[in-house]
């Protein structure tokens, strides 16, 4: 006897599938922004389920900052190969070389991804871009629509958002305008990990704990590697750590953890007391409105 009730994860999955199908049915040329991080992987996994047994009917785009963990790139390539999707790479390094953008003094390439992204969207004629943003991540995201309208400069205007009622999404745009679509809007970090575990999804091994040589810097732990070498006077130590987010390799910190399996990660996240960005991202700590400002400029 069935109760006709979906578990909340299946409910979220169904909602995300609905969003994918709606965009593909109504937009001319969508793409999926794929970083190789857990959220974009879950997004791509659901996209594949939404159109099975057909292939994912849009390309994936990686805005490549040139500061990637190799295992993340490897994971990206496994996904592209497995699903047979087209990969578009928009290179930040190449944009720096030809003078479109300039790196910030602290080495962050977070903000300068935006012009590269916008240029690639325009050049490829994409009128919709799926992003893995979740509303639980950050206060500005909490107010963003699932279909987030962007003007012909790619900008988000939080005061001028389209009302989003029921599941009746409005993706109508004029030439040059576009929408960002966030199929995982209602997922939390715990939902993402519970789902990765339940579906046994391939994610970069950075997310799992192992012993790493790390250095403490500004209250965060950075792995000692080519992107974050030891500075004068610093000493490295070996600790069991894992990554909670995967951003630029030179700015993403790891956290102390012994969670070396997906099950243990789920249990850890269920008990954790810091947000993922607060715990691991140097680039998000700049100001109370850092994310809102970046989104206004056209960031994901």
């Amino acid at each position: 006897m069935t109760t006709h009730v979906l578990s909340q994860l299946r409910n979220l999955e169904a909602e995300s599938i609905h969003i994918f199908r709606e965009v593909v049915a109504e937009m001319e040329r969508p793409c999926l922004l794929f970083s190789g991080g857990k959220d974009s992987i879950v997004m791509l996994h659901i996209a594949a389920k939404a159109f099975a047994p057909a292939r994912v009917p849009f390309p994936v785009m990686h805005v490549d900052t040139g500061l990637n963990f190799q295992t993340v790139l490897d994971c990206r390539d496994r996904w592209v190969e497995r699903l047979g999707v087209q990969l578009v790479v928009a290179s930040v390094q190449e944009a720096i070389d030809r003078g479109l953008v300039r790196p910030e003094p602290n080495g962050s390439r977070n903000r300068i991804q935006t012009p590269v992204l916008l240029e690639a969207i325009e050049k490829n004629g994409f009128d919709a871009a799926f992003g893995g943003g979740r509303r639980d991540e950050e206060k500005a995201r909490a107010k963003e629509r699932v279909f987030s309208f962007r003007d012909d400069f790619g900008q988000w205007d939080p005061k001028n958002q389209r009302p989003e009622i029921w599941n009746l999404y409005n993706g109508r745009v004029h030439q040059g305008e576009s929408i960002r679509v966030f199929p995982l809007s209602n997922w939390t970090e715990l939902d993402i990990w519970s789902y990765i575990e339940a579906e046994n999804i391939d994610v970069p091994d950075l997310y799992l704990a192992r012993e790493r040589e790390v250095v403490a810097r500004g209250g965060m732990l950075y792995e000692v590697n080519e992107f974050t070498p030891l500075r004068d006077g610093e000493t490295a130590e070996v600790r069991s750590t894992r990554y909670r987010t995967v951003g630029d390799a030179n700015l993403t910190a790891c956290v102390e953890s012994t969670a070396s399996t997906l099950r243990e990660v789920v249990e850890e996240i269920a008990a954790v007391r810091l947000t993922e960005r607060g715990a691991t991202r140097g680039d998000d700590r700049v100001s109370e409105a850092a994310m809102e400002d970046r989104k206004r400029e056209g960031y994901f």
Binding site: Q8, R21, P163, H174, E197, L274
Partner: protein
Amino acid sequence: MTATTHATTFAAGPERSVDLLRFATAGSVDDGKSTLIGRLLYDSKTIFADQLESVEQVSRDRGNDYTDLALLTDGLRAEREQGITIDVAYRYFATPKRKFIIADTPGHIQYTRNMVTGASTADVALILVDARKGVLEQSRRHTFLATLLGVPHIVVCVNKMDLVDYSEDVFERIRAEFTEFAARLRVPDLTFIPISALVGDNVVNRSENMPWFDGSPLLSHLERLHVASDRNLIDVRFPVQYVIRPQSHDARDYRGYAGTVASGVMKPGDKVLALPSGLETTIASIETADGPVEEAFPPMSVTVRLADEIDISRGDMLCRPNNTPAALQDIDAQVCWMDETAPLVKGKKYAIKHTTRWARAMVKDINYRVDVNTLHRDEGATEIRLNEIGRIQLRVTQPLFVDPYRQNRQTGAFILVDETTNKTVAAGMVGGLPHSV
């Protein structure tokens, strides 16, 4: 594999039996709504340490004497600058029993459209009443909008009980007054809880200050509320969203109709009728990426395969031959107008989206405008402006397959879109008022 196993083998861990409840809150600056949400998040241990630290820091910087929990939810720069909530904010928390999605909306009359947005998908509406002030115009407006949007459960939180000495008389007086008002509306389920959001009485933990109250604290009420039967499992409605036709050699003959079940329960072998063609066939199988299922029910996203090849495309609808929606080109509807730049006027044309179907619609007539505070009908109204509710008649370029909104929140709903600006300008509900006022 049955639908049941599909749903329950999904997660082996603690997520397994957790279902989802969406609730909407509406309130203004001083009625304690933000404090209540802050309290729910805080007492359910959902606020993260760095979020709390940031809110405490900002409160100190501003010279506040207390930690302003509203800062947790007011995310936009303009909101923090003006100290008000402008937009719908979505918040998430979970207990071992349920995951909750809160649509937190501002309560002022100028934000009616945000309240309508939040209420459109809500299972429950929380209405806050200040125990010192009683049932105000605002409480009436929120309740009216919640019932208009078909929210099946309303919970009235009589807040600030600490400021009225936890008086049972005060609570009972408010309950009586509210019940009398609500009798004029269609409220399927109405619950009253005396709380103090600031101190925490009856929010997560039972209050020792109000031994006379024998109901549940708010959180346990929300955890136990039975929402499964709110869905329409009778009328099969499957709006076709997308046709899946793989462009590969091994699946050349595959044709599946993808969509989200709007209502009803579908099974392989069921006879179905396709609209608008009126052709009948049988469901051959219902598929998901995880394999076939024996049943599909709302809100599952599935792919339906049919026994016969009939011409079906996006915007069409599958239903049962003996239970069909009305195919209407003339539609009687309630609308909430959401555009600040121009009012709805007679004769104007809009794009209309209903389930997965787009068409064009012309406003044939405006029957009346409702004063959302007094519920008074203005039958001489010639336009409906921002945040106003009205009853109108539409003529649509092609038939829409509709049910009254009262019976079906999916197939009774539509939006209007301005064809010049592309903005969503109205939320519409088919079939007139959900009650007689």
